[in-house]
Amino acid sequence: MRQSIIHWFRFASPQSFYPLAGRLIPWFWAAAALFAIAGLWISFFVAPTDAQQGEGYRIIFVHVPASWMSMFIYMVMAFWAGLGLALNTRVSAMMAQALAPTGALMAALSLWTGALWGKPMWGAWWVWDARLTSELILLFLFLGFMALQAAIDDPRRADKAGAILALVGVVNIPIIYFSVKWWNTLHQGSTINLNKAPSMAQTMLWGMLLMALAFWMYSIAIALVRVRAIILERERHTEWVKHAVE
Amino acid sequence: MLNVSGLACSRGERRLFADVGFSLAAGEWLHVQGENGSGKTSLMRLVVGLSPADAGEIVWRGEQTPSQEFRRDLIYLGHHAAVKEDLTPLENLRLAAALDGVDLSESDALAALIRLGLRGREELPVRVLSAGQKRRVLLARLLTRPAHLWVLDEAFNALDVAAVKLLGDLIAGHLESGGLAILTSHQPLPVPGGKALVL
């Protein structure tokens, strides 16, 4: 028992995590590329043209996975941040910091593609749809987290303050999501729902799934790249980093 | 009563000190010495539990700190004035005691202020007092809350000769009645005995 705990905590030190991440990154890049090629092929050439929405609907192959990822990344970020706060493991806090820009990117991508999709479908770039609005608030939460961490000079304090903010955000996300949905149904302006794709074809589902996997692999790869950079920056005064950089 | 071992502290990338340890029994006091920037204040903040240590442990009466029991036994006076400028010395003293859960009567508070030479100043807003007088308002807390461990960081700064002697007497009395004290200062302190710790 004792042995296995030590084994796991070994990777919680930046020094042993750095080379491990370095070995993993190419695999995740390769997987991301493979899934993306397959996913794009299905979504562009195999999935049939939608009877009502024409070719424009194909943007959901990016939009939906990006929305999923943005929410999921916030949860993962809060998990690592909370773990870092509870166990005082430095790599977890660095992981949370590394995930935030990717999460913000996914939220922004989801908003952007949503607007592109909305223009031909609804005739407006922006509709106060419950999902779009929640996504916008999620983007604000990511930006707040990044701004707070950037504003605090001491990395240790930045980690802990960011962790508390991420945990407060995680408690609030369901409340925000629910309240926006409630607000949306009360003001019955737009009843269109992004996910109400009428009878999704089997191939469309496959395309979306493959694209989601590609986004997953990309997010993991880029987060590992970023965490390596953060490790180097924070540990630059240590001996092992001086050796590693040489 | 107080056992400190293996304390380490770093600020940013700079290691301030490592493997600092000492122990104090009832009636003993520690004089923490060192150059500017050697980490005296950081050590004080670690001991009272404001900052977490990189390594090491602080044990008070056989229990790990920080704990609520430890705080009950502790008075820490740092660099800050720690008094509200808009309140009078009397209000400051009584409200600070109330925040600590102590009901301090007006006459007791007044007696403490008079002991510290603030007679006639107790109803003025602290803002109009001099730096040394503000310091005395803070030091009056040593008289109003019984605590076993006094941690005083540069407590003798800004005090005149009479106040230095007064504070020295207060500390000596505290030690005689079985109290403990940790003091920092560049100068020799007007308190007899004491262990020295050089950072």
Binding site: - | L50, H79, D103
Partner: protein
């Protein structure tokens, strides 16, 4: 408990010695709500429709004004350090400070809202719902805001950062608070909105002081 009341008393006494700082937030609330009719036009139907939203957004921003001072002055003069080392639990003292903040920055808005609501041609029952919604909602704003105030304590550009952190978290309060009044004006039952506000308040009373205390201990390190 006595330490909790002592903190409230202390912060109220301090505010009494610096009245202008308290009044700023209240004046801000009055001025902002008065600006909207000037910007939009005096059409009574439209103003009545947007009144709940305007009053709530103005209340949100007015509460935000007082937040940076919640811990900053105590942090600068070192009294916060003394609170953190006090034999009383820091969470209790923090809760006292939050209550004092609400009494100073939230309660005046609740009391003023019915008067300002008259400017927007709201009828008596709508004013009642507005006041009730603000009475439940403004403590929630103080509680959530205290977390942001503690996180940004002593941080560069803390005031703006505080708004960025706190405003997204205020959205549920805004939606249910303004929604209650809107629902009432539309002839619907507002009790659902109000119970949800009350539920969020109950949740925040439990969690916010705890999170704020944790954030303060980090800021003091």
């Amino acid at each position: 408990m006595s330490a909790f009341l002592a903190t409230v008393k202390r912060d109220l006494l301090l505010a009494l010695r610096r009245k202008s700082e308290v009044l700023t937030a209240v004046f801000f609330f009055v001025i902002v709500t008065s600006l909207f009719p000037l910007g939009i036009g005096p059409e009574a139907v439209l103003l009545k429709k947007i009144a709940p939203g305007i009053l709530w957004v103005a209340a949100l921003l007015a509460t935000l004004l007082g937040l940076p001072r919640l811990f900053a002055t105590d942090h600068v003069d070192g009294t916060l350090e003394q609170m953190a080392l006090s034999p009383s639990p820091l969470g209790l003292l923090v809760a006292g400070k939050i209550l004092a903040h609400w009494l100073l920055c939230g309660l005046p808005l609740v009391l003023l809202a019915p008067i300002l609501g008259l400017q927007f041609d709201l009828d008596a029952s709508a004013l009642g719902i507005l006041t009730l919604a603000l009475l439940l909602g403004t403590p929630l704003l103080s509680l959530i805001g205290s977390i942001g105030a503690a996180l940004t304590l002593g941080v560069r550009g803390g005031g703006v950062l505080l708004a960025l952190l706190v405003l997204p978290l205020y959205i549920p309060a805004l939606i249910f608070g303004a929604g209650a009044v809107e629902a009432h004006i539309a002839g619907l039952d507002a009790s659902g909105h109000l119970s949800l506000l009350a539920a969020m308040l109950a949740l925040a009373v439990f969690f916010a002081p705890w999170a704020t205390t944790a954030a303060l201990r980090i800021a003091l390190e």
